[in-house]
């Protein structure tokens, strides 16, 4: 049996790894999904307040939505949702063999990044302004 030349187990130096753009888009898919999961109780609570017929809920909903911290969290979740949405469509397309080539895959990852950020800006202005 030949001597192993590389030491095992291998410990990856994360800060030295250079991912292709699609790799970053993929990691962000995971990060955005995790963020949405963690903030799910907030979103369900806001849904509840938005649909409750009571006056107190209406006032509380307005107050919560007017809070700067909540607005920043919702802005982050907006990006998370949009990135997850766009990246999800990219994944579904690749599943049916659309855009599998290296250059196409790079371009679609770029498109996901740009479109999700642009839409975050558009809807974010509405969110912060309202």
């Amino acid at each position: 049996m030949p001597e192993m030349t590389k030491p095992r187990p291998k410990h990856l130096a994360l800060h030295q790894i250079r991912l292709p753009l699609a790799g970053y888009a993929s990691i962000l898919h995971r990060v955005s999904g995790a963020g949405l999961f963690l903030m799910l109780p907030l979103l369900v609570w806001l849904l509840q307040l938005s649909l409750s017929p009571s006056q107190e809920s209406a006032a509380l909903f307005s107050a919560v939505m007017g809070n700067l911290l909540v607005k920043l969290i919702l802005l982050g979740l907006l990006w998370a949702f949009l990135h997850h949405f766009c990246m999800g469509i990219r994944i579904l397309l690749i599943d049916v063999h659309v855009g599998v080539e290296k250059q196409q895959a790079h371009n679609s990852a770029m498109a996901v990044m740009i479109i999700s950020l642009a839409l975050t800006l558009v809807f974010g202005l509405k969110l912060l302004g309202a």
Partner: protein
């Protein structure tokens, strides 16, 4: 018996479920977005009557169930990828599952009593 117990043939099922639930959520998102453009979120009253519609309640239910199943598969994958301790993994799997089942019940009763 000395064998490594891995896999239970749930991989393909989860892969498929992740896609199906994603499509359900994407379509629902577009419907809600179109409704918002049509004025469904213009006032509290408009929002309430929109969400109380029978068909919307039906697809909202599908959305909630899809979201929770999708989140279960996704979050479980995160625990499986990064946690080496089987005990910690089991604990977090159970907590994730319980949290999602609770959220599903909470969200469903919000739309179902409208």
């Amino acid at each position: 018996m000395n064998r490594l117990v891995v896999g239970a043939h749930y991989g393909l099922m989860d892969w498929l479920a992740q896609r199906v639930t994603a499509i359900v959520m994407a379509v629902y998102t577009l419907i809600i977005f179109a409704a918002a453009l049509g004025g469904a979120t213009a006032s509290r009253e408009a929002w309430h009557s929109f969400m109380a519609n029978g068909f919307i309640r039906y697809i909202s239910f599908l959305f909630i169930v899809s979201l929770c199943y999708h989140a279960w598969v996704g979050v479980r994958d995160i625990w499986m990828d990064y946690l080496n301790s089987a005990a910690l993994r089991v604990i977090l799997h159970v907590l994730t599952l319980l949290a999602l089942i609770g959220y599903a019940g909470w969200a469903v009763q919000i739309i179902w009593r409208l």
